[in-house]
């Protein structure tokens, strides 16, 4: 004997599970079909961004960081892992490094690339690669010229293995120090998130770049 109401419950299970399975199939199929092209477009955008965030760069070489901190040239076509892009000027001299970093923004993960000058120990440029910040407010981190100017000479000096002043976002118009980031009015959380992402990335990479600078200066 079946439980009372079982016959009316079964169509509900059937509808939800059946539709769920079909939807899952659709999503996975489209993901699989589009993945190679999306990855290629991302890589091309990244290569353009490297030259954009390191002023004076005309070529670059990608290195992969191992768990012990050593850097080795990335094999051609390799993706993923902790990567550093050494950027060289037309004369072949190292002009800076471009670093990929990511962290939580207001809505979702912000993925960005920023340029670092080991010579001056400052950030030299920043470009947000991916974000879902609030349109009209938080998404200003992508294009607001005044905000992006913060990262053209942001002080990231090292004292030993740590930053002297980790960058912090301050209210718009209250920036007094070279290590402060002038925030965007109405996008405080997004501004702070970008400053934090750059700060954490700098704390992680800057000592390593200093230690391995000789390796990075070898163009090929």
């Amino acid at each position: 004997m079946s439980a009372p109401g079982a016959s009316s419950v079964w169509p509900m299970y059937r509808a939800m599970v059946g539709v769920g399975a079909l939807c899952g199939l659709l999503i996975v199929s489209v993901y699989q079909a589009t993945r190679p092209r999306i990855e290629r477009l991302r890589e091309e955008a990244l290569q353009r961004a490297i030259l954009e965030v390191v002023p004076g760069a005309s070529s670059s070489r990608t290195f992969v960081a191992a768990a012990d901190g050593t850097l080795s040239p990335a094999p051609p076509g390799a993706r993923g892992g902790r990567r550093l892009h050494a950027a060289y000027g037309p004369d072949g001299a190292l002009v800076g490094v471009a670093l990929e970093a990511a962290g939580m923004g207001y809505q979702d993960t912000i993925r960005l690339i920023w340029g670092y000058s080991p010579e001056a120990q400052t950030a030299v440029g920043l470009k947000v690669l991916e974000s879902k910040e609030t349109p009209g407010l938080g998404d200003k981190i992508l294009f607001d010229p005044a905000f992006l100017d913060n990262f053209r000479a942001l002080d990231l000096k090292l004292a030993g293995e740590t930053l002297v002043h980790p960058p912090v976002a301050v209210k718009h118009g209250e920036k007094r120090e070279a290590w402060q980031v002038d925030g965007i009015t109405g996008a405080t959380i997004s501004s702070k998130a970008v400053a934090k992402i750059v700060g954490e990335s700098a704390a992680d990479w800057a000592p390593r770049v200093r230690a391995r600078r000789a390796e990075l200066e070898e163009r090929e």
């Binding site: 169509p11 509900m12 509808a15 059946g18 539709v19 939807c23 999306i38 991302r42 809505q107 998404d139």
Partner: protein, 216 residues
């Protein structure tokens, strides 16, 4: 006779969304993407097409499965279907252009909660056969894309002096920067709504005037 009536009904399903029941200018639905992504004609058209694709796919699917979905779980099922198509569109737009994906930002994911899509699923697709649901979706999608384009074109033209990125107005034209800012979206929408209200009133008055004239 029956075929003629069916053809006329199908045509009406299609046409009503474009003009008489336009989702933006008449039903005033989907205001969030309408105001936010209509700062340029390109963004507006891309969002219109993306929403249109989801609307079409969702209406066709929901109409197909309408007999198998008990009413107790229908909304959950519709949302599942809509969310899946939005995810697919998200990947497809990324594969077409990362810049376009970046420009549309969070609004692609928000197509899931666009009330036009769930509204048509509940009000039309769940009660009508696939053919009519597809025509309804096509009409509504076209109406939505057209409305977004009307807003985007005006805002881009006045805000930047361009249309689809190409310079249209003379160089001496001073751009109205406010038009590409969020407030410009409200101004433009208000102007279009005013135009639609004026046109509707004029159309409604016309038979009355004709009737009064005839009575004399």
């Amino acid at each position: 006779m029956a075929t003629a009536a069916a053809t006329s009904g199908g045509m009406d399903d299609f046409v009503k969304g474009i003009w008489r029941e336009n989702p933006v200018f008449v039903q005033v639905l989907g205001m969030c993407p309408t105001l936010a992504v209509s700062n340029t004609a390109r963004n507006a058209l891309a969002m219109g097409l993306a929403t249109g694709f989801v609307l079409l796919a969702a209406n066709a699917s929901i109409s197909t499965i309408r007999r198998f979905v008990p009413k107790q779980v229908r909304i959950a099922t519709y949302i599942l279907v809509i969310a899946s198509f939005v995810t697919a569109v998200d990947y497809l737009i990324q594969a077409i252009s990362l810049e376009l994906h970046q420009a549309l930002g969070a609004f692609i994911a928000l197509i899931v909660v666009n009330c036009i899509i769930l509204g048509r699923a509940e009000a039309f697709a769940s009660k009508h056969p696939v053919g009519r649901s597809v025509l309804d979706a096509l009409g509504m999608a076209l109406g939505f894309a057209l409305a977004l384009f009307c807003l985007g074109a005006v805002r881009e033209l006045l805000g930047s002096g361009t249309l689809f990125g190409a310079a249209v107005l003379p160089a001496r034209f001073q751009e109205w920067v406010v038009m590409i800012l969020p407030s410009g979206g409200f101004f433009t929408l208000a102007a279009w709504l005013l135009l639609f209200a004026w046109w509707r009133q004029r159309r409604e008055r016309r038979p009355q005037v004709a009737a009064n004239g005839g009575a004399r």
